[in-house]
Assembly symmetry: C2
Homo-oligomer: 513 residues x 2
């Protein structure tokens, strides 16, 4: 049942004095009837204090206990699955298949962290017994604030990668629910709260606070007892939180994944020979109504002959598509306005849309693109801009002018190898992930994934927000020098009771010392 | 030969218009005669542009080439050793043994990075061939600015851990020389410049700029093409650079190691039974005239009987010591002023000094310490404050009140185990390194070292500035998805031509794919 209340360290609190707001079905534009309460200053303070005072205990929980906790979260989510999915579809307008897919992604994402707990590699044990006996491993940072993302109500929200990786690290989490899917978020929070109670963990390790204004998030990020922040969303939102965190007496890390135009470079011979390009790009551009942070917003083609009108070819596919509205009116309005601005700029060669589909495909000459920096701004939604280059050099110039990106793609034929290599050298300094086949919209949850790129794609390119390496955002190393064995954490003990693979005097080994 | 010029991407430039300054022998207070030129805005711009344009080439240098470069730096330093050591002693007043020791530390520090290049573990290869083929490894961040530290003219300055770890990562470096040892810094820069030329590396990968004002450093940190900063020094200096870097349009990481009071907790039975404590603490407090970031500035003892006057015992040892002046008048004056302030605060139970030695040992009751936050401020120099606790609980209260530290020490007898465990839980959240024997002033250069702790000890507790893991400050991961083998970097190729230990589908292996 959806209550509209805030979860404060285990208690679902009703507050008479709170401002309230409702979520809206983006298809029908009707409010959904539940009054969601904005968290009060006292609730925020109580949640943070409880998170801080539960930290020492949770930090010392065994990896096994954390795995059981994550498993219990999975089970509780499964219990509430049908209610969660129906709320998800009402609040986001995203179709059933996507809801189901995102639910499964959330569950399997949790599974990957359960397996990580079993293998323990994230503790990164380094032991050096020559000279002073030094033993280093990673420990949790402290209480973390996680912001739900508007575009992924499950996989990047309440029980998404940020929350789960922080729990896996041993950090208490306070979720600031995204106001566009407050009901879905509450249902997921109920599942987590049940898991906390079932596992008899300190109740302070999880709170779930709502709010439509920026006040709740701002107070949380500014609180001296908070030690880190996870965020996925717009540049303006992420940068504002980042700046707030840097103005604190003690600055803290903010991992803001702020989006990207994910340029796709199509080399000359590939463009000539691959007739399926337009269709696969059309699919990628419109996936989730273009609301993916890896949406291909820029397609740079090398077409010296000028024979290819890729924008037209893509728009032939998008024109007849039937895609749902964006997850919220305010996002849709921003998208519509940016499209109007692009059109009225007079810089584009052409712009293609249809009366039945919100996807828009623009086309511009490379020189015009290079002369107008605002053409490389992200248009969040089902839009892409095709940049037509008349030479490989012009393509390199476009590559050089790019800001930091989550992904770049280089689609080439084997005969394009020469230019691919030069382009790759350049693009490697611009992105977190480089694709050579397919489209950037799939983000696999593995330990080899990098989701995060040079600023402004994310606030810290050294970390990923997808895949098990996301845990490193919430850890810091501590070295024990000449510590008696009985005072060492299990991971560092001579007998290696956890059976970890450890780096001992420079060699990786599972043996005792 | 010392010229006073700035090194701008391979050229030792003389500038008529530059402001000049001289370094001073702290013992004789005489200026050393060489006019050191402050770098001009044009020189700064040229150095940064050259660093940025050499980045792509240097980033693609093989690990082997970087090892040869580091080895050549070692050789060139050895060539200039006698000149460097004599300049070092003139500019710092530190004795010959220390000069020799710090030179050796610098050489062996470089050696550890040469070995790291050979083993390649820092590239942290993760390959996942199921689903999309994803291959991730670390790449250099970009041009780095390194600030020389006043208290370590060699090991934490021009060819110190920051510079060498950045070179090892594949990043160009611009050193902002510390004005207190500008001549020593120039000699070391000459050695590095010769190594760059001998190895035929792009000259832009190293510049060495001087300046007495904050302008040179400020301009460097604010330059959009700079991607990271390394600093060891005071809180005020480090925090100012940090803030400057966060105010940029693109914020960049600043690794500021800002010092610490390195509390030493001596448990009840240890205090009663170990008669050598006072002497070893006296040695640690006065080492390098107290100018170590790991100097024990706070000693917390559990003495319910009130029978021990540890401050008196330590001062018996320090009183007769003959220690040199601090490395610069301005540091000495700040130290002297802080001592006067402590004395006039009227809060201390006692303060011990001698007419022949600048070491000062203070003593205060735990409650007074807890009531006066300013007593826990760092006094940089040969000073320590003994905090007398009448119970284990009072000791825990002192532990809880501490800010972030580089190190904490828990010195206990086996019979102190109970309280040691409780104290450890608390202190683990406060420090980067925890010692159980000896004194904190030794910082071993191994992969298990952690030199860096929670704010304000350092600006980013997730990284270390000593030991081979210091390289991770200058790296970020990039994932290649479905990349043809011939376009992959060697570390990621199927055949594993570098013979690295790689994580392939979750298993560590040296095999091909």
């Amino acid at each position: 049942m959806i209550t509209g209340k805030n979860l404060v360290a285990g208690n679902w609190e009703h507050s008479e004095s709170s401002a309230v707001f409702q979520t809206v079905n983006p298809k029908t534009k009707t409010a959904l009837g539940i009054n969601h309460q904005e968290a009060t200053t006292i609730q925020i303070e109580t949640a943070v204090q409880a998170a801080a005072s539960s930290f020492e205990v949770f930090a010392e929980s065994s990896f096994e206990d954390r795995a059981i906790f994550l498993k219990t979260i999975q089970e509780e989510l499964q219990q509430q699955k049908s209610e969660i999915l129906s709320s998800y579809q009402e609040e986001s307008a995203l179709p059933e298949g996507r809801a189901e897919g995102e639910f499964q992604r959330t569950i399997s994402q949790i599974q990957s962290f359960i397996e990580l707990m079993d293998n323990g590699s994230f503790s990164e044990v380094k032991i050096h017994t020559q000279g002073p006996d030094l033993r280093k491993m990673n420990f949790p940072l402290g209480p973390i604030v996680v912001f739900g993302a508007s575009n992924f109500p499950l996989a990047f929200s309440t029980a998404g990668g940020d929350t789960i990786s922080a729990f896996a690290a041993g950090c208490p989490v306070i979720v600031k629910a995204h106001p566009f899917h407050a009901a879905t978020s509450e249902l997921v929070a109920q599942a987590i709260a049940k898991a906390v109670a079932k596992c008899r963990l300190p109740l302070g390790i999880f709170s779930h606070l709502g709010g439509q204004s920026h006040d709740v998030g701002g107070q949380l990020v500014s609180h001296p007892l908070i030690k880190g922040v996870g965020f996925t969303g717009s540049y303006s939102g992420g940068k504002a939180l980042y700046d707030l965190a840097q103005k604190r007496e003690e600055p803290i890390p903010v991992f803001a994944e702020m989006g990207s135009i994910n340029p796709v470079f199509i080399l000359e011979n590939k463009l000539k020979s691959d007739y399926s390009l337009a269709e696969s790009l059309a699919q990628s551009i419109t996936l989730g109504t273009g609301q993916f942070c890896t949406n291909p917003g820029l397609i740079v083609i090398c077409d010296p002959s000028g024979a290819h009108d890729l924008a037209v070819e893509i728009s032939k596919h998008t024109a007849s598509m039937n895609i749902p509205p964006m997850v919220h009116d305010s996002i849709q309005n921003k998208y519509d306005k940016q499209i109007v601005d692009f059109k009225s700029s007079g810089l584009l060669k052409s712009m293609h849309h249809s009366s039945t589909c919100s996807a828009v495909i623009g086309s511009v000459g490379a020189q015009d693109f290079l002369n107008n920096k605002n053409l490389s701004e992200e248009v969040f939604g089902p839009f892409t801009l095709v940049v037509n280059c008349n030479s490989a050099d012009q393509m390199l110039a476009v590559a050089s002018a790019l800001e930091g990106q989550l992904t770049v793609s280089i689609l080439g034929d084997p005969s394009d190898k020469g230019i691919a290599k030069v382009l790759l050298s350049k693009l490697r300094t611009k992105a977190g992930r480089i694709l050579f086949e397919g489209v950037p919209t799939g983000v696999a949850v593995t330990d080899a994934m990098q989701h995060g790129g040079p600023f402004p794609a994310s606030s810290d390119s050294r970390f990923t927000s997808v895949g098990t390496d996301a845990i490193y955002r919430w850890l810091r190393p501590v070295a024990y020098q000449d510590c008696p064995d009985n005072l060492l954490p299990d991971a560092l003990k001579n007998k290696n009771p956890l059976g970890l693979q450890r780096n001992v005097n420079g060699k990786i080994t599972g043996s005792e010392i």
